[in-house]
């Protein structure tokens, strides 16, 4: 079996970030001129509780190599309870995706507050490398399945 070398693979990662915490934390990382890989695309949502399971499936189908769901720390949700629902939904989704053959590193949730710019950068660095190591998402990408 040929071992593929993924060192030069540039994964595409989609992050759903809540407006009040993680999106703000990402902005702060910019304000502090922190550097992180350009593999990430952020979609801003009012709350991580807004993340519909459908969005995640669609991202993998369209060919994203990894998906992040980020929100306020439990207890800090701008809307009180949104991220608790996110957490439960995330665990279910994760099991479903693993069952469908999506490696666990490809789908992650992180709680990053508006002041945790460093944590945001570190998360992006780590997740990018983890997904790079896995190589492209062939398992769910429509284009690859129909080929």
């Amino acid at each position: 079996m040929a071992i593929t070398d993924n060192t030069n693979f540039e994964p595409k990662i989609l992050a759903f970030c809540c407006n009040w915490c993680t999106y703000t934390g990402a902005d702060l990382a910019g304000l502090n001129r922190m550097k992180y890989p350009d593999n990430i695309r952020i979609i801003r949502l009012p709350c991580s509780g807004r993340v519909n399971p459908q969005f995640i499936l669609r991202a993998f189908q369209k060919g994203y190599d990894g998906v992040l769901v980020c929100g306020c720390h439990p207890g800090d949700c701008h809307y009180t309870s949104g991220n608790y629902f996110t957490r439960r939904r995330f665990l279910l989704m994760k099991r479903l995706l693993e069952f469908a053959g999506i490696e666990r590193e490809r789908f992650q949730a992180r709680w990053i507050s508006g002041s945790e710019a460093g944590k945001f950068r570190d998360t992006i660095l780590k997740v990018t490398e983890e997904i790079r190591a896995l190589g492209p998402n062939h398992r769910m990408k429509e284009a690859d399945i129909y080929d």
Partner: protein
């Protein structure tokens, strides 16, 4: 066909030094739906805005993508600008190419490619945007205050003095709460009743305050600016409209009971005023103990009343009123220590009393006229043990939190004992001494100088021996067992949320934490607001605190309410949930996840198999909805969507990279 315009901001060199903005504009021009793309030195500047406004006219643009700094910075600026053009302010998406692109990447080529992607995503979204319109709701210029302790009193007075109508609902027969029971207040030792009763009287006489005692809130509907509140008047059996408060009935009533105001240490009658300076200064009948009401015997009060105010047939009644704002000031109660601390006698020893009972004992208008006497035999105690943190900071037995006021009032109680009883020996058992507050540490120091002996450690057992109370504990500073023999033990017991405060708050859509304290919107920045717009909180209902903090919070809540009531109309955000009732199956999932109770169910007429039927569907209250979108993620049929962040818009953003 959509006619989108794309504007790429240089932000001086902030963006343009890393991203090739001209290249981004060129790529944007090629994207479907775009009729015009250009760069702009500073999009947010006046000239930048003028340039975009002109382009809207010249190219008949109907929506915009502005690639610039974070939308958290200038989305509002750009929406305001659009408000002056033919384009709806919500037909705008901001691509964040500064904070999330030029500032975090160094490779120009990669950063430019990413910026193009970000523009493509924003464009995909804006192509699905719908014009949205803010609506306004009128504000009813009246405030409801629930709870008539010092918190509610202060808030009501501030708002009424500010020129607005207030209704103050208190479930007890009088205003005052706990403060009016206290003797003196730390650290200044001013007489509590002397500073609180004038405020009570002011409430009673204020032309803009309607005081509703013996009342409770039974239902709340509506939203900020327009709450419909149902208030239950519990029967008082005395017509307060006629009663002058002459007191004859009280004097003649033959039934004597333990006074709750005196914490069981004094007596009152079955027809009674809570305390002499009660506001309203009129009596009520205690229905549980009045022999006329329980056994149809007596009726003396009705016979002696010169005005015929007594009405044994009185019933509870309900009234409904509209308010623009609500303040929750339901306060606290003290822990039922007996059930948590059997090792302290569990309530069996008459001379083991609570701090609030001590307050009544030292109070000149209390049952002993201010003389500290043992409840068991009326003797003056020569030695007193004060035990702090009974129920507080004790996860194993009761609560983990600190009750905040006890360190200070324990010092006060020690000081009062030493002052009133010559040669008295006072021991204070403590875990820590916490005195953060102006002149607080100095007060504690003075108490020690007075001669109070502080022993660091908890008391593990209290028992009676030869008419003395023996307190056994450990002095953790010297690591030894200590035993003190005293005549009186005062337990400084934990504060707990007032009974049913959670239920009352829930009526107004406010939640409580694990200990039952009501939750503020943000612990630092929105301390007196709640998650429910238009509902505020103050005082110990929010958490244990002393009077200075309670009053400060009450005035803060009042300031918030004044700011709200000063408006004639409120603008509501149009980025809220909307239901497509044709698809809704009435599963109620959305109702359960909504944090602000904005979703309710209604029955709508529908046709099924040619039959007229009723179908249950969700409806969103636009005044309440805060636009979080939890409902739409929970919706099984996809019928409830968040305007401005619709499923379609987000999916288009997801798809955009592979077009």
């Amino acid at each position: 066909m959509a006619r989108a315009g794309v504007f790429i901001c240089h932000c001086g060199s902030n963006i343009a030094s890393v991203i090739d903005v001209e290249q981004v504009a060129k790529s944007a021009e090629q994207m479907t739906g775009v009729v015009y793309a250009a760069t702009n030195k500073y999009a947010c500047s006046i000239s930048g805005q003028e340039m975009m406004k002109q382009a809207i006219i010249d190219h008949q643009l109907d929506r915009l993508v502005i690639a610039s700094c974070t939308p958290r910075m200038h989305e509002t600026t750009f929406r305001k600008m659009l408000g002056k053009t033919s384009v709806n302010p919500y037909m705008l998406e901001v691509a964040n190419i500064r904070e999330q692109c030029s500032w975090v990447h160094t490779d120009k080529e990669k950063a430019t490619a990413k910026a193009i992607d970000l523009v493509r995503m924003s464009l995909a979204k804006v192509l699905k945007n719908q014009p949205l319109f803010t609506s306004s709701i009128p504000v009813c210029k009246k405030c409801l205050v629930i709870g008539g302790g010092i918190a509610g009193i202060q808030a009501a007075l501030d708002i009424a003095d500010g020129g607005y109508e207030v209704t103050l609902v208190e479930r007890e027969p009088s205003l005052g709460g706990k403060m009016v029971m206290l003797d003196k207040t730390f650290p200044t030792l001013d007489c509590s009743a002397c500073i609180s009763t004038p405020k009570m009287a002011e409430v009673g006489a204020h032309p803009r305050i309607k005081l509703m005692s013996s009342c409770e809130v039974s239902a709340v509907s509506g939203y900020i600016g327009n709450f419909e509140v149902t208030i239950k008047q519990n029967p008082r059996y005395v017509d307060h409209d006629i009663c002058t408060g002459c007191g004859l009935c009280e004097e003649k009533c033959p039934t004597k009971l333990k006074s709750s105001f005196d914490q069981g240490l004094g007596q009152r009658k079955a027809i009674y005023k809570l305390f002499p300076q009660a506001v309203p200064a009129k009596p009520v009948i205690d229905a549980q103990h009045c022999t006329k009401l329980t056994k149809d015997k007596c009726g003396v009060c009705a016979k002696v009343c010169p005005l015929g105010c007594i009405n044994f047939a009185d019933q509870e009644s309900y009234t409904t009123d509209t308010f623009g704002a609500i303040i929750l000031a339901t306060g606290y109660q003290l822990i039922d220590w007996g059930s948590h601390y059997p090792e302290y006698g569990g309530g069996a020893y008459a001379d083991v009393i609570s701090g609030l009972q001590f307050e009544r004992l030292v109070n000149a208008s209390g049952p002993t006229e201010g003389k500290i006497k043992r409840p068991s035999d009326g003797a003056q105690p020569k030695s007193v043990a004060i035990i702090k943190c009974v129920g507080s900071r004790d996860v194993a037995k009761a609560h983990g939190y600190c009750s905040r006021a006890c360190c200070m009032y324990a010092a006060k109680h020690a000081h009062q004992t030493i002052e009133k009883i010559a040669g008295a020996q006072v021991y204070i058992f403590y875990i820590d001494v916490r005195t953060p507050g102006k002149a607080y540490e100095e007060f504690y120091d003075r108490t020690r100088e007075d001669g109070a002996v502080y022993i660091r450690g908890r008391v593990s057992k209290i028992y009676e021996e030869n008419g003395k109370l023996i307190c056994k504990g450990e002095d953790t500073l010297i690591g030894k067992q200590v035993t003190v023999e005293v005549d009186l033990v005062v337990l400084e017991t934990a504060m707990e949320p007032a009974a049913n405060s959670g239920q009352t708050a829930a009526l107004a859509g406010v939640s409580a934490d694990k200990d039952g304290w009501l939750t503020e919107a943000h612990p630092k920045l929105r301390p007196v607001e709640t998650q429910s717009a238009g509902v505020f909180l103050c005082g110990t209902a929010q958490g244990p605190k002393d009077i200075p903090d309670t009053v400060a919070q009450a005035s803060a809540a009042a300031a918030k309410v004044l700011g709200l009531l000063a408006k004639d109309e409120l603008e509501t955000s149009p980025m809220i949930s909307a239901v497509d009732t044709s698809k809704c199956s009435g599963c109620r999932f959305c109702e359960q996840v909504c944090p602000v109770k904005a979703i309710s169910m209604i029955d709508i007429p529908s046709i099924y198999n040619g039959q007229k039927v009723k179908r249950t569907v969700a409806q969103v209250n636009s005044g309440l909805c805060s636009g979080c979108g939890a409902c739409s993620a929970a919706c099984r049929t996809g019928c409830i969507d968040l305007l401005g962040f619709t499923n379609k818009q987000i999916l288009e953003e997801v798809d955009a990279l592979w077009q």
